[in-house]
Symmetry: C2
Subunit: 353 residues, 2 copies
């Protein structure tokens, strides 16, 4: 077992540690800090406009000349069920009123969702070396265009079947997302029931069936967990939650603070904020919406419906009404510069290999 | 990191591999086979009468002169809610009739539940060297009696708080049960929400806070997973599902067969069979009871109410109406003698240390 391996060579990086893309938390500064230290930073752009995607990529490039990954959301976009969406809007208005949060009603007819397909040309133009994705598999045309441009592809699996499907599409690298992971589940084959497989079972199962390099994702936060992931068949790891309390993160102060004093049972799975299953620290909004018994519109509809509420709550530094995505090792998140967090991980790991 | 360590010395065994107690699956033959190979076999007696406990212990002693553990259920016994129990009985009768399963109605007034307290004297009399328990913590008097008799105690934790509480009570060894584990969750502090922590997060968190030897439980099935558990702070492992398809197991043939062709997403958490959360392979009964919307009586009431149904289904080799407890690596269960399964595990692990 080698710490510097096929994956570091493939990605042209020094250490097989990837900063996980965390939309709403990660920044160009975070991605650049990790890439500059010899890891792989990730810039999340899922659902953003091509213009915003270009801006963020260019900002990152100004901060590093090392490779970094850009992360897409590869879901399909469902039709809006008008009555479910209207009932949810009415409910959100009530919640805002009752909690002194300014409410901005969205005109459902004006809703526009960008697809990852709108972003492919930007990625090719900007010569992005690694494109990662989650929530699905890119369509064949996008895969071919990116591969023809010399881009490496990194998909996300939460079950053996998903990993096998990514392999069939010849995706270069597979992130294996255990149930420990914070944020959205990458699940795309079926979420009824949602695959909730621990990394300790999922990694060896996928390593047995698939010959692509694997990244372990979920709860990775120190040398021990990195070593264990390698024992189980990973060639690299993805680290997200450990970077949330860093100054390079745009998480609000209340979220950073809650994260650090949370226990392993405080983070739970919820569809409340986005319509997609995600792991985050339990708060008032999550509990209230469960109690309401309302049907939650699918992703990305619910995500758009709750945007105004979340943005307003964030302005108030109000952790009870915005998502606080976090993995089961949230408490390991330190309020230190991303580069320091990264270097500590590397030092701990090198001592074990 | 040592493969033969403080735990093997403490337990006077050769290898730190414990066969997990699986009530309804494990037998004296299974426990003896593992103990005879230098591991630690476990004899589950949770909820059994003192007389039956004695018989099983004596049967095991006839098959091995090595140490083995006896496993208790340390729950408290709730009062019966008559109307919920009657509604459940009526439902179970309908299910049996609709599925050609003989139905035997239980007289609710005749229900008797044995407590682990009824079994302590037997364990002391039989000089059992290791008593493991789950679903709670033994009361102080039982702890003192067993310790005074020279017995080592092994409790089960599914969260950091539970491990800390076991440590406060000076329990000698702690089993850390990840969400990957088959069978009943050992959870005893709160199951709302149920702690669903992956071993990869739970083990290092508990290892950080607690100085007792830890056993990793959940998904452990080969050398790799044993090595990873040791990396994360375990001094030993508990292996259950891997032994279910062995000839020493009394699982019905249909259960063994389903287990071996199941995938990691086939096993789900359910309260349907016993009133306590447990992981098992999804079947018709689990799905139907969910659909019924009926309130499920607490453990052990529901367990008693479904006993006749489960026994009758087992007689028919009908896997759809009996529990098929299984961890997330159910497919690793081989139809080989327990001794062979054990020796293979040891050989794989020794090659990695």
């Amino acid at each position: 077992m080698q710490w510097k391996n096929n994956l570091t060579r493939l990605l042209s990086i020094e250490y097989p540690v990837i900063q996980a893309p965390m939309l709403g938390v990660s920044t160009p500064e975070m991605a650049a800090a990790v890439s500059n230290q010899g890891g792989l930073g990730s810039l999340p752009v899922g659902g953003l406009s091509p213009q915003r995607t270009t801006e963020l990529i260019q900002q990152t490039k100004q901060l590093t000349n090392k490779p970094f990954a850009v992360n897409l959301f590869a879901h399909s976009i469902p039709a809006i069920d008008q009555s479910t969406a209207e009932a949810m809007q009415a409910y959100l208005e009530t919640v805002c009123l009752a909690n002194q949060i300014p409410y901005t009603k969205l005109a459902l007819n004006d809703l526009h969702f960008y697809s990852y397909k709108d972003q492919i040309d930007v990625l090719i133009q900007e010569k992005i070396p690694i494109v990662s994705f989650t929530f699905g598999i890119l369509d064949d045309e996008s895969i071919q265009s990116l591969k023809a441009a010399g881009c490496l592809l990194n998909g996300t699996a939460t079950s053996v079947k998903e990993a096998e499907l990514l392999t069939e599409k010849d995706i270069d690298i597979i992130s294996v997302q255990g149930i420990e992971a914070g944020g959205h589940r990458g699940t795309f084959l079926t979420d009824d029931p949602l695959p909730m497989v621990g990394l300790m079972s999922l990694l060896p199962l996928i390593a047995d069936r698939v010959s692509k390099p694997l990244l372990a994702a979920g709860g990775i936060h120190n040398g021990q967990t990195i070593k264990a992931a390698f024992d189980l068949g990973a060639s690299g790891v993805q680290v997200g939650t450990a970077f949330i309390a860093s100054p390079e993160s745009v998480a609000i102060p209340a979220y950073k603070e809650r994260l650090q004093r949370s226990s392993e049972t405080d983070s739970v799975l919820t569809r409340s904020f986005s319509g997609r299953w995600a792991r985050g620290i339990s708060n008032t909004f999550m509990r209230e919406i469960d109690k309401s018994g309302l049907s939650i519109p699918e992703y990305p509809i619910q995500n758009s419906l709750t945007t105004a509420l979340r943005v307003a709550a964030q302005r108030q530094n109000n952790a009870e009404f915005t998502n606080m995505w976090a993995g089961q090792l949230a408490s390991a998140s330190e309020a230190k510069p991303a580069a320091d967090i990264f270097r500590k991980l590397i030092a701990q790991t090198e001592a074990l290999f």
